[in-house]
Symmetry: C2
Amino acid sequence: MVTFSDIERAAEVLRPVAHRTPLLSSRTFNALTGNEVYFKAENFQRIGAFKFRGAYNKIHSLTAEERSRGVIAHSSGNHAQGVALAARLHGVKAVVVMPQNSVAAKVEGTRGYGAEVVFCGDSTDDRERVTASLVAERGCTLVHPYNDPVLIAGQGTAGAEIRHDLRDLDYLFSPVGGGGLISGCAIAVKNLFPRVKVIGVETEGANDACLSFRAGAIVKIPKAVTIADGMRTLSVGELNFEIMKRYVDDVITIPDSAIFPMMRFFAERMKIVVEPTGAVAPAAVMTGAAGLKGKRIAAIISGGNVDPEILKQALSAAGS
Amino acid sequence: MVTFSDIERAAEVLRPVAHRTPLLSSRTFNALTGNEVYFKAENFQRIGAFKFRGAYNKIHSLTAEERSRGVIAHSSGNHAQGVALAARLHGVKAVVVMPQNSVAAKVEGTRGYGAEVVFCGDSTDDRERVTASLVAERGCTLVHPYNDPVLIAGQGTAGAEIRHDLRDLDYLFSPVGGGGLISGCAIAVKNLFPRVKVIGVETEGANDACLSFRAGAIVKIPKAVTIADGMRTLSVGELNFEIMKRYVDDVITIPDSAIFPMMRFFAERMKIVVEPTGAVAPAAVMTGAAGLKGKRIAAIISGGNVDPEILKQALSAAGS
């Protein structure tokens, strides 16, 4: 299990290198929803998403001998860039396994942080086969995107910062992909505010954590269809689920149709760029999915790395 | 003339109501330009632009009798919303004269802050005629968009904040429309850093301040053609020009073509939404228009109120 002390230690590790991201608020959003809402702006984190926190803490924890053999990650998204930058800052070689059909900008972004990119086929099987063969061949260490206690402690530092910045808190809303962010942050906020409710949010087309939470056991869905690309994991990690069972109060879903209006609100009213996955937790508050009024709520914006074409579509969304 | 004490008093007036906007930086931008650059993010100011500062300070300075008769402004842009919100916060009635062809969203925004909108024809003559007749009829006070010492002191509080947040500064880059922002901020920064260079930036199609600066007298251009709508004033104000002659070191221009790439950089790399006029001063640093290396530079982002269609065009710009 991961403890609050692990998160405090991770915060010390991250202090010199990570951004201490702000809590943003909007009078208009508060008036519309009838709550006092604080957005934890991880779109302003290095590499544009919270993923830098966990990757850095993980690579920092490796022995000199492990570091000399390098690290490996498989990801087509923010974890790839998080590992690439965290490795470079440690002088460690990184290999990232990405599907052949990855967005060119993300491949370039990962290479831009100095990582070697190795392509694999589209299927999970192919990705795991390529990764396993590289681990066997080079002896490098896998940095798992969510199912790792040291990485979870790193992601939890976002929650620790919320905890320090707010005097009191009724609810924390966090998006759920593999469960790394919510599990770390739930531990952090419950340590100070034992009565805070932690709510995970997924999109309807990627509702594996919601199903798992209801069933009391990990449910793997056959496929995840959603614009929120950070949520396309088919099941949460085992360690993540253990923590969620203990510290998370509920997991709810929103429709994909709530995402673009939320992104447009962020751009038009708050002048910030948020990626689809980053809009999921705020959208649950905006749409009133949780039926709250008069509450003090923190909602995590997990990242801001959105393809310009997708952002343009969001800016055409109705409402705001 | 406006003094630093006036700006300090304005800062006291604004403290309870205005946002203290952050100074943002980007490792990528610094690496690309070879300078240490801080962006004063007035896109995060109330109403999404610095204009709130001056309008609030001005309305705050009115007597009870003047307040009871209300205020009037003519603007199709951020000044309209600044006056509307500042008036509402003082419980003062506001009338805003806008051209009939104003963007619907800006009309709605101004009404949303509680102002009455009166339409006029497109020409400057028509606008002034309508405004003058309303002043005569209702006895309300005109809040000029730039040529007013109390308003200038309010805009200068942005410069005072930069001054307090940075230990040292070599250059301040500010956009120039009517000259309200640059004149207030120049006074503020030169008070602490006497050797700082203050550089005004315009677009080539709205280069009246640049021409005036070279000529040593106010030059009025026949028309201003630029995507940067906050710069479409045909000449700077008299008081503004007096201050600029004393405190501004140079006024330079950038082509309109530099604006969209700068807006795209802000969205993609820094996750912030900046309006065309807000990108002008940063673009001068990005394009190396001033030929600087190794300098500590503050560049003001004047606002973030961009029409979604314009932002979409910027996101399609080449480069970033």
